[in-house]
Amino acid sequence: MRHHLVYIFALCLLVITRASAQAPFTRDIWLNDANTPVKINCLEKDGTGFIWLGTDEGLYKYNGRIFTPVATIAGVSVTALAADSNRLIIGFEDGRLGLFENEHFTEYRLKGSLPVESISSIRVIKGNTFLAATVGSGLYAVCNGLCRQYNVSSGLSDDYLYTLAACKANTLLVATDQGINEVFKDRDTFRITHYTTANGLPDNIVRVIRPMKNKSLNWIGTHQGGIAFYCSKSRKVWTPFAENSWQWGQVNDILPIDTTRAWICTEEGYLVDARIDNQGQLSYRAHKYPQKLYRLLMDKTGNIWCATNSGVKQVLAEYISDIRLPAPYQLSDITAIACDNDTELWLAEKERLYKLSLRDDQHRLNLVYKFKAPVTQLYCQQDGVVWAGTFGDGLWYSKDHRRFEKVTNIQPLNGESILDVGGKADKLWVAGLNGVEEMKIETPGRLKLMKVHNKSTGTGSDYIYKIFTDSRDNIWMATDGAGVCRLSKNGQYTLWDSTAGMAGNVAYNIAEDAEGNIWASTFDKGLLMYDGRRGRNWICRPACKV
């Protein structure tokens, strides 16, 4: 039996405190320069890769660098988004619907029974047909400008709907306040099956349904019961056995990663890494944040974006993960590091060289070789040869990843202290205390000296900390005392030091971004950028102090 109640309340004040804990690899991004909190209700990515944000202050578009407000219905929150090829269907807090296409917004002028409650989810069926779920008045089917309502009287278990998920052909899953509704369309009629706690759900308030990639399983997130699964083949719901019981509050969204993993965000500010083992048992690892976390989205590069009540949070957990070395090893003792093509990580701890398989969850270090001098640099070539530069004992290489041999036929390298080793294709560049040796790799491990680059030839300094080959085959050198040196393909040196547009004379590292800009980290002038395409001078990026 269900009852409707009306409460009239009086207020009293009490101080509420909240505990928060740190969580790694996240970055909070504000939507405006004033850092004013903006509540993000929904996230969507389109086919081009742009990220769209539905907020309490309307629609925003993110191009990877800046957020741009997009004019829609003034003063009305955007609560749902659905991208379909080059179109974006937009749902609003007051039940209205709109379309953004060809950089132009149009509000739908629909006929029939129109939604008046907040749109919570939109699902495009095909062409001009889509479904819109509402918080309080059921489901609306929109087809060629005509809107039709489906609610409790049509067979849904409740009118409070949260998410719509495609299940299999002609079947839709709907998350409601009274369990899951499986809606099967059979010509012009619907068959609706309800799944509640009586069928295995841990809670009747189902907040989110997300299908697992390439499987018939669906992740179910509930208000207070945590996680459940629904299988569209067996049409069964179950609550999996979990290593630790659910204690992180109302599930707001689930982002399936693969068949065994998902990220979950909650109203209470937890981002939970959920993993399924071979026996189907779940384990959770939760990170607490001060914001409420509403929606999750993965972009094309693997970054996770999380909608919060104050802005958007970028989570790099799928992109960067920490490798904790087993005791007694410490990352601070590592003198050189490189990764080969077999996802083996090579680590030098002074004279000792170790190998660590990234596929090994235990991160065990296996001793490969012990040198006579500390290893200062490692470089893994595409063909599998591993190069090791030492401090005072020259250059070494290994073809079989077990034994290392010293390079003896290049005279300047004998007894040299190596600062950097790098290369591209059949070229190897080795920087030492007496300049840079440019060599040709004749056979695996066999080198031929082509040229020596040093202060007398035009590098400005004999001390080169980093040699970097950019996408246009220019060689960049980060020097001690002469700033940054570029060696172009025609053999011409260009120097940028403090007298030639560069802030500072000591650079440690050089890298290139996707747009062809060259970045240099400096001793005391932060991170500097050189606009590679337009040939602009080095500019300081004040936000990045290196």
Binding site: M1, R2, H3, H4, L5, V6, Y7, I8, F9, A10, L11, C12, L13, L14, V15, I16, P37, S118, V135, G136, Y160, D177, Q178, N204, I205, H223, Q224, Q250
Partner: protein, 98 residues
């Protein structure tokens, strides 16, 4: 709070759990509905303890309201002295009509 302008706080909703309030007993339920504070309405799920005894229904509920959610501004001069959330303690008794 601008109580002269917004004198009432209201909550209108329904009980999620399937309970029979004609039967005596104690029930912990969730009420889902629209909470209006300071003229701003939000969908909320609020926990309540319901006691039914001889046709009389006692309802007790405690929950938080974030001021920012309801567009309630804290004057800057007292910013450090006021909480950003208020705590509501509600007790209701429903009796059958004669």
């Amino acid at each position: 709070m601008e109580s002269a302008r917004y004198p009432e706080i209201t909550f209108a909703g329904k009980i999620i759990e399937d309970v029979d309030l004609r039967t005596d007993g104690k029930y912990t339920v969730r009420a889902k509905g629209k909470l209006t504070v300071h003229g701003v309405t939000l969908d909320r799920i609020i926990y309540a303890d319901v006691t039914v005894k001889k046709g009389i229904i006692d309802i007790a509920s405690k929950f938080n309201v974030a001021l920012s959610d309801h567009d309630i501004k804290i004057p800057r001069i007292v910013n450090d002295k006021l909480a950003t959330e208020v705590f509501l303690d509600v007790k209701l008794t429903l009796e059958p009509r004669n």
